[in-house]
Structure formats: structure tokens, C-alpha cells
Amino acid sequence: MKKLSRNQTFLLITIPVLALFFCFNTLPLIKGLMYSFTNFKGFGSYDWVGFRNYADLFSDARVGKSYLFTFKFAVVATILTNVIALLLALGLNGKIRAKSALRGVYFVPRILGGLVVGYIFGYIFTYILPAVTGGSSMLSNTKTAWFAIVIVAAWQSIAQTTLIYISGLQTVPEDVYEAGAIDGATGWKSFKNLTFPLIIPFFSINLVLSMKDFLMVFDQIMAMTKGGPAQSTESISYLIYNNGMGGGQFGFQSANAVIFFIVIVAISVFQLNFTGKKEEQL
């Protein structure tokens, strides 16, 4: 057998990998873009409709509502997750006993599947909380159902976010605090002026990761509300799945998916630039 050169070997590896990636990522992406200009129902024949789907998207109340819900959900969940995780990380990084056991317990929600967790919390919100408070279920009220989803999503997401903050806090050398303490920086002052600036890279990782995950929320909604009550918890992913796959709106929801894709890219680029600049300033 002829010996392959280094470059030939690399090409023989890279080309099939690129082909696979193209086939299951780029090709469906192009097809999705194509379908977004048609009135395809998911079956049967279809016609080209130009930009009609896109024009309709902006006047469709249900789509607008799903964007509002998804963003409200993602922003609130990101803030809640990061505030709690940061506090938890400071605690778990403190002078405590049973440190690794505690970290191990707080990490458990990360490994559990979102769907089953959603079912379990669905039961808590439907039966246990009303039994405690004497009120009705959060999930049956259009004003509170979205926050129930925030709680579940944050419960799961806090686990990983906390661990990332802890690994950030561990990069801060002990003498920074000692030097700070001499200058009178303790407690909140020490956190604001010493700790936080040093863990900003970890803060930006967490913001980007949690925001992206929350914008794509699906499992918890599938398990807890199916978008209800009165479509008040219908996330963009859920709407695309529900109406695109089963509702005869394949073409229309493809257009929705294209816009969603552009929004995700724009937010990611913005977040990376924004947090990148902040790091430079410091």
C-alpha cells in the first residue's frame, strides 16, 4: 500500500467530515430557507409565495406573542439564574464544611432531563403548592404560568452556572483579598471592586450560555403547559414545532425559524462583542 502524505491524510479526514456536516446542517438550513418562501403545508404540492410569509410573520399576533414570551422568559431566567448562581458560588467557595458533598448535591439538576423534570415540577405546581398556599395553580393562570417555567428552567440551569462561577472564583488568588482587606475592602465592597472584575470572563460565558439555552426553551414547556394557558407560554421553538410539524404551517413556520436563527446569531454576536469590550476595559 502506498504511503499517504500528511496533507493527503488530513484531506481524507476533513472532506468526509465536512460532507457529513453539510448534509445534516447546511443542507437542511438551505432547505428551510427555501421552504420559507413557499406555502408548503408539510405534505402535498406547494407554490412560491415570495416574501409573503415574512410579511405575515410581523402581523401574526400568535408569533408576536411567542417572541414576547420567549424574550421575557429568557431575560428573567438569565438574571435569576446568574444572581442565584453567583451567590451560591460565593457560598460554596467560602469557608464551609462538606464542600465537595454540597457541590455534588447542587449539581444534580444539571444531569436530569428537562422533560421529566418538567413533569415533576408540573405536579408540584398543580398539587403541592396550591395545597400549601390554598390558592390555585400557577400553571392555570395566564399571568403566572410563565414564571413557573422560569423557576423550573432556572432550577436546572443554576447547577452548571454555579460550577462555572466557582471555577472562576478559584482563579482569584487569596492575596488579592488580603491586600484588599488592608485597604479596607471587605464584604460587598471587596466583591464589587475585587472579585467581580476578576471573574468577568466567567460572567460573560454564563450570560451567553444561559441566554442561548433559555431562548431555545422547549422540553419544560412540552411537559408543563404545552404553550398554555391561552398560548401565554408558547415559546418560539414550541410554536415552530407545534404548528410547523402538525399545524399545516410548514412554510410559514420555516420563515419564523429563519427569523429566529437571525435573532440568535445577532444576540450571540452582540453579547460576545459587548462582554469582550468590557473585558478589554478592565
Binding site: N25, G32, Y127
Partner: protein, 282 residues
């Protein structure tokens, strides 16, 4: 060692106790799942004491029934098979791709572009690929577990290739040159020298890919639906209507679905936590 002594000397007990109490937020939903899974429907009352009390007898009846209703062993089999095959192929293919691309990126425009092309796939939400992928996998005759694996190999490629190329930067090329001098080809050098050195990254990739595939619902939901086969999380969704209002049966099934990953976490807690944190921070 020095640090450990200092911690032991001044344990912050209020903080330790606060954090232990905080663990209840994680333990309570799991506690509830376990007791409901063991109870009989007749033991379920609507007052809070009845909801949270321990079952009168610890019978396995609900589990046997749940296994029968959800076709547990088949679903477990599919989940295990999909996860293991995906992880093994991801480690082999993504590390090879990371190697070929990472070693050539600096010199060649083609590989630099290939790298950016693959990594940019990270921004593509599943929602936009979903509908075209359903059509495409059906046309290709892979609208089954195998198609799901192919999709995972592509979905995790951006992250994994980025992790491998990043890790490769710290492996000096001189290590390979020694093998070349002995007459080894690039292919042989890779498997004998580079692949073993990348073990820490294999662990990270394995953990992230395994957690993602094991818990994913959306991909098997849209691609495997209609084949009659389920993964473990998907089975919870599929048989939701059959559980009806028999929450004891449902929770026995949820517990069975959570158990494998919980056991796995107990065994390799450290590797899982490290994997998740490394994957996010690097």
C-alpha cells in the same frame, strides 16, 4: 494542604448550615418523586400531610406496571445504544477532525475556513433544521435511531471540534516529529501518540455529548416518531396519556427514567462535573 488547614480552623458554620438547608431545593423534588412512585393511588390525599408522607408499604408494583406500560427495557435499550454509539463516534470522528483541522489551520486557508464553517454551526438553532431534517431523514431512509445518531454527530461537531483544536494547541508538534523519524505515517502517529494524549479532552467530550444525547427529547421526537421506538425521555412523552391521572404510575416511570443517570452520576461525579465545567470554560 496549607489552605485546607486554614479552612478547618475557621469554619463558617452559619454559611454551612444555610447551604445544607438550601440543598432542600434540590432534594425535595426528588424526595417527592420517590414517595409518589411508591404510593398507591388510594394513599394520595389532597392535604399537604398526605401529599408528603412516606408510603405505607414500599411495594415495587408501580414500577413493574410502569415498565410494562412504557416498554421500559426497549426504551432503555434505545437510549443506551444511541448514547454509546454517539459518544464513541464523536470521540473518534470529532477528535480526528479537530486534529486534521487544528494542525493545518495556521498554514492553510482551506482548513481555516473549514474550522470557521463547522464552528459557526453552533449558532444554528435546532428549530430551523427540524422540519427539513424530518423530510430529509425520511427520504434517506434513516428516519430511525441511526438518523438520530447522525444528527447528534453533526449537532455536537462544532463544540467538540472547537474543544479538540483548542486542546491540540498545547500539544507540541515535536512529539509527532519523533514518530515520523521512526517512519510512522500521520495516521499511525495520530492513534499512537496524539489520541492517547488527548484523553482529558475525550473525557470532557464524552460527558457533554452523553448528557446532551441522553436527555434530549426533540431530535428523537421528530425523527423517530412513527417507528414505534422510543428513547427513555421520549417514552415519558409518548405514554403520558396512558398514565392518565394515575400519578403513582407516572412517577414510577419518571423515577425509572431518572435512575440510570443518577446512578451514573454517583459513580463518576467528579468526571461529570469536571467535564461540564471544562467544556464551558475552554
Amino acid at each position: 494542604m496549607k489552605q485546607k488547614n486554614r479552612v478547618a480552623a475557621t469554619t463558617n458554620w452559619p454559611l454551612t448550615i444555610l447551604l445544607i438547608v438550601g440543598c432542600l431545593t434540590v432534594i425535595f423534588p426528588l424526595y417527592m418523586t420517590i414517595i409518589i412512585a411508591f404510593k398507591k393511588p388510594s394513599e394520595m390525599t389532597n392535604d399537604i400531610a398526605g401529599l408528603l408522607s412516606l408510603p405505607k408499604t414500599w411495594s415495587l408494583e408501580n414500577f413493574a406496571e410502569a415498565m410494562r406500560v412504557t416498554d421500559f427495557w426497549h426504551s432503555l435499550g434505545y437510549s443506551v445504544m444511541i448514547t454509546i454509539v454517539t459518544v464513541v463516534l464523536a470521540i473518534l470522528i470529532h477528535s480526528l477532525a479537530g486534529y486534521a483541522i487544528g494542525r493545518s489551520m495556521a498554514k492553510s486557508r482551506f482548513y481555516k475556513v473549514s474550522y470557521l464553517y463547522i464552528v459557526s454551526g453552533m449558532f444554528v438553532p435546532f428549530a430551523i433544521l427540524m422540519m427539513p431534517l424530518v423530510k430529509q431523514t425520511a427520504q434517506m431512509g434513516v428516519d430511525n435511531w441511526f438518523g438520530v445518531i447522525l444528527c447528534y454527530l453533526v449537532f455536537y461537531m462544532p463544540m467538540n471540534v472547537m474543544l479538540y483544536t483548542g486542546y491540540l494547541k498545547n500539544i507540541p508538534i515535536a512529539l509527532e516529529e519523533a514518530a515520523f523519524v521512526d517512519g510512522a505515517t500521520t495516521w499511525q502517529t495520530y492513534w499512537k501518540v496524539i489520541f492517547p494524549i488527548m484523553s482529558p479532552m475525550h473525557a470532557t467530550v464524552a460527558v457533554l455529548t452523553a448528557l446532551g444525547t441522553w436527555n434530549d427529547v426533540m431530535t428523537p421526537l421528530v425523527i423517530m416518531s412513527g417507528t414505534g421506538a422510543n428513547t427513555l425521555p421520549l417514552a415519558q412523552l409518548t405514554f403520558q396519556t396512558q398514565f392518565g391521572t394515575n400519578y403513582n404510575l407516572a412517577f414510577a416511570s419518571y423515577l425509572l427514567a431518572l435512575l440510570p443517570i443518577l446512578v451514573f452520576y454517583l459513580i463518576c461525579q467528579k468526571q461529570i462535573i469536571n467535564g461540564v465545567v471544562n467544556g464551558a470554560v475552554k
